[in-house]
Symmetry: C2
């Protein structure tokens, strides 16, 4: 199931093509099925990634934009609340909202739910994925997928993460509570 994005090349059946890429109806050479398969693969490069994307931040965006730059189309599997529960994680933002926010990004072609650890080979085949791209915190973890497509790990943005955002909010909130308590004491005295 390989669909081309608007403006991208789209092929069906055999293709008559010159080595230069120019097509003609009268002086064409027939391309071999093997070369056509390569050409098809080169025509629209599809990238896939997996993530939670809780409290969407600049680190997420940087990673998604870098992944998109590896190809023409970027597909993002967003972990469901049930899958996070299995992993012992709990998001601030619901699955429905996380997947809508990710799909609203210009660099994202399509989204799908991530329900389990072992759906990757099925997704790669079904979507015709060329590149599986993950953040640098996963280096080596998905090398088994090299049997199905190219696998790359891209560096994460320094100094930003969902955990960092949570902790910043906690710290500021705690100092705000302490400040209000101090103000209340001053008011009382």
């Amino acid at each position: 199931m390989r669909t081309a994005s608007a403006g991208a090349l789209r092929f069906s059946g055999t293709l008559e093509i010159f080595p230069t890429g120019k097509m003609s109806s009268h002086t064409a050479m027939r391309i071999s099925p093997a070369r056509l398969a390569t050409f098809r693969r080169e025509a629209v490069v599809k990238v896939l990634t997996y993530g939670t994307f809780d409290l969407l931040h600049i680190g997420h965006l940087n990673l998604l934009e870098r992944l998109k730059a590896l190809g023409d189309e970027l597909y993002v599997a967003v972990s469901t609340d049930e899958f996070n529960h299995q992993k012992g994680k709990r998001c601030v933002v619901s699955f429905e909202d996380r997947i809508r926010l990710v799909s609203a990004l210009r660099c994202v072609t399509g989204v799908l739910p991530e329900n389990s650890w072992d759906q990757k080979p099925h997704d790669i085949r079904r979507l015709g994925i060329d590149v599986l791209g993950m953040g640098g915190d996963w280096v080596g973890k998905f090398d088994a997928m090299k049997a199905h497509c190219k696998v790359v790990y891209l560096p994460r943005t320094e100094g930003i993460s969902t955990t960092f955002l949570r902790e910043t909010i906690m710290e500021r909130g705690t100092s705000m509570v302490a400040l209000k308590a101090a103000e209340a004491r001053v008011d009382h005295n």
Copy 2:
């Protein structure tokens, strides 16, 4: 400075046009400058909004997508950290990150910084804005702008706000701290 988006109509100088909208080079009637001005205004409808967009959430996205649906192009002015400081607000996410996240949304045509309360008439004129759209929490506050363009207030999404996110994180964090303290006590006993 009125630029048409891809696929939108673009005019320069006078226009030869039929009342039906069909153009012809030999049996055309000339449109009046006044009608042309109206037509130009109708060709690309530009919407402008202002906001902070801290911890980008589904309420922001809903509002921006509803605003975009009012026209063809959506411009978003994002408040700077300095302007927030003047208002006594402090964001979790920096201005640079907030404006990049907003500009990465498919529904957003362009972004600009919001530095002061009184820049609106200048922005409206400079960008050729047709509609100023704000969230329902601002009803009536920007009616003075009706001298410059149409002003609309759209309802906010129930049950979500940056404050709600902050409070959810604080509450969960506090109960997590209490839980860990309780666990520590159990371990100790």
